[in-house]
């Protein structure tokens, strides 16, 4: 009886997982398949199997934009940004979670409020700011704000408050660790799964950042991937195949980063178990 019940629950669970898999994979699959078709095929029929136009699409795409350049540019922004986000998110989160000081509530509210500002109109001020800082046509305006990523602080503060007992910190102090060492040696390693989760998310959002780089960069050699995709979209002679190919290429690194890092979340699970 229990056996039947367990088989039944297995069927339900796998049925659920596979139908979700179907929902998430199919549109993806279509993007990739369409990258190998001519635009004419794409607009006239539903393509389920790869076509033979991949190379043609690639050529077309390259005559309009240098996609690999955009790829490299986006990496130059997203990688350092992500690293800063993970580290400083945990550091600031630690400061808020484990120390008491005057004005903490207010300061923390400011952190949260900084997330709530609609970004569309502020790009005008953002441009002027970078003009005054002489940071136009550089990547700093998109890398350095990783240090002030409110959502990372918010998330990691919660994780640290929850999972690091005060006794652990006290013990480290007694062992003679400085406060900074406590963070680096004790706290940070413990919250790596959380750091990784927030890093993946921020890598993706940084990778997809469009309007900011468009406005700050006035040298097409410095354009990022999303700007280049938008350029292909905006051309009057647009080739759907080339556009799908560009989207496919733009998704690859995020998939790789995700697959690499998602292991850490799993390992984090076992690390937690040994704790």
């Amino acid at each position: 009886m229990t056996r039947i019940k367990s088989i039944l629950s297995k069927i339900i669970i796998y049925g659920l997982l596979i139908s979700l898999l179907f929902l998430t994979i199919v549109p993806f699959y279509m993007v990739m398949v369409n990258a190998t078709h001519t635009s004419f095929n794409i607009v006239t029929r539903l393509n389920l199997l790869p076509g033979g136009a991949l190379l043609d699409n690639y050529e077309t795409m390259q005559t309009h934009v240098n996609i690999w350049r955009g790829f490299a540019n986006s990496l130059l922004i997203s990688l350092p940004y992500t690293v800063l986000t993970g580290y400083f998110g945990a550091l600031v989160g630690f400061g808020f979670a484990k120390y008491s000081f005057k004005g903490k509530r207010i300061l923390y509210s400011i952190v949260l409020a900084s997330m709530m500002i609609p970004s569309q109109v502020s790009i005008i001020g953002f441009y002027q700011l970078n003009l005054r800082l002489h940071l136009l046509n550089t990547y700093y305006p998109f890398i350095l704000p990783g240090i002030a990523n409110a959502s990372a602080v918010f998330f990691l503060r919660g994780i640290i408050a929850q999972s690091i007992p005060d006794s652990m910190i006290e013990a480290a102090r007694i062992d003679g660790c400085s406060e900074f060492m406590i963070f680096n040696r004790v706290v940070f390693p413990c919250v790596i799964p959380g750091v990784v989760a927030i890093c993946i998310f921020n890598f993706v959002s940084s990778w997809n950042n469009y309007i900011g780089p468009l406005i700050v960069m006035s040298d097409s050699d410095m354009y990022t991937m999303p700007v280049m995709i938008s350029m292909i979209k905006g051309l009057y002679l647009t080739n759907y195949g080339a556009m799908y190919l560009a989207i496919t290429i733009s998704v690859v690194p995020t998939i790789i980063v995700f697959c690499l890092l998602s292991k850490y979340i799993v390992n984090g699970l076992t690390a937690g178990a040994n704790k």
């Binding site: 001519t38 004419f40 607009v43 005559t63 309009h64 953002f126 441009y127 905006g234 009057y236 002679l237």
Partner: protein, 449 residues
Amino acid sequence: MKKRIAALSILMPVAVSLAACGGGGSVSSAGSTTEAEDSAAVETAEEADASAEEPETENASLSGTLEVWSSGEELGRFVEGFQKEYPDVTVNITVVPNADFIAKLTPTLAGGQGAPDIFTGESDYVKYLVESGFWDDLQSADYGADVSDVWEYIVSVGTDSNGVLRALSWQASPGSVMYRRDMAREVLGTDDPAEVAEMLSSNAAMLDVAARLKEQGIKMFASWQDIMNMQFSNRKEPWVTDGKLVVDDSLLEFMDMAKTITENGYDLGVDPWAPEWSAAVESDDTFCYVLPSWGYQFVVKPAADTTKGQWALCQGSVPYVKGGTWLGIYKDSPNKELAWAFLKYCCLNSEAQQAYASEYGEYVSLKSADEALASGEGEEVLGGQNPFAFYNEQMSKIPADLMTAYDGTINNAFLSATKDYATGIKSKEEALSSFKADVQNAYPEIAVD
């Protein structure tokens, strides 16, 4: 080789964007592999050429780097020829995605630094830029543009309300009805553009033809929204006159026309630039597109394969123009001399335009260039018809320029309202009142009755 087949702007499945039309754009003539214009900085590839051709002394004295922002790639095609004449000038063209051109331009101009020497303005917002004073007076002593050879319409759009010329264009976009010869022969008994035009000479006549086509299972239009391109020139007054919104009678008539088309299934029932709309170039049940010259370049010509030779251009109920991209010199540019040389080369040099038009097939802004091309051979796709000859005739007939700085937004609002009426969701009064509310909301300073 269908690789270049569809000319789809994707900005736009995103429907209503015929208003966004404008653009010049890339033309892919069947076999021509466009040189990899990296859209990035176009480097000076001068060495070889410079020694081969002797630059005029006047030109040789010009040197430096010119920064150009363009909402399309086509402007970059002038660079090679330009640098043959000005070997010491480097032209950096930055292509900015059209949808966000204003979003990039505004902070830059407002910031006062980092602006390019020259930038483009598409028809949706060109009047806004023309009136802003950020473009130099092209007829001032520094420049002294001679516009006698430019189509009047181009000059009129580029001129601000004080009569100062702020911008010119290298292209012009006269309208047409692009129809299928084979279907015209079968249903209308002729495929001759003049005779077909005769049958389409009013909106009512167009609907009659639509009914005849429908009997044979053919949809007359790809999308009724295309017709808006033409109705735009059918008005007596612009959208805004003396600070008041004007809904011209012809537009009220157009709303009914859209409803008739929708109810009777005279079109595909999709928005322009939707996949189905684009695919109709190769269909066996769609008769025509109502699009200006760029529509032939980007929609019909690149996609026509089995229908090659089966297309023709004729006039619809009224001659019209729609779209286009203008070019002006930034008022604080440190390189005005270079900027003027480049603008002059693209917009006022007949030989340069002829070379450009014959290579890329785009209809250009100088009468002499278009006239020279009108005597050439016809187009294979058009069954031998010469589009330049056809469009020249149209240009000579088009009514006055009715563009305003508000057009982009108002056109889109009007299309949305017309669609609600045509699909039976709103009554005409409801649709009109929500249209007026939209205009008021977008531009509180406009008086709306």
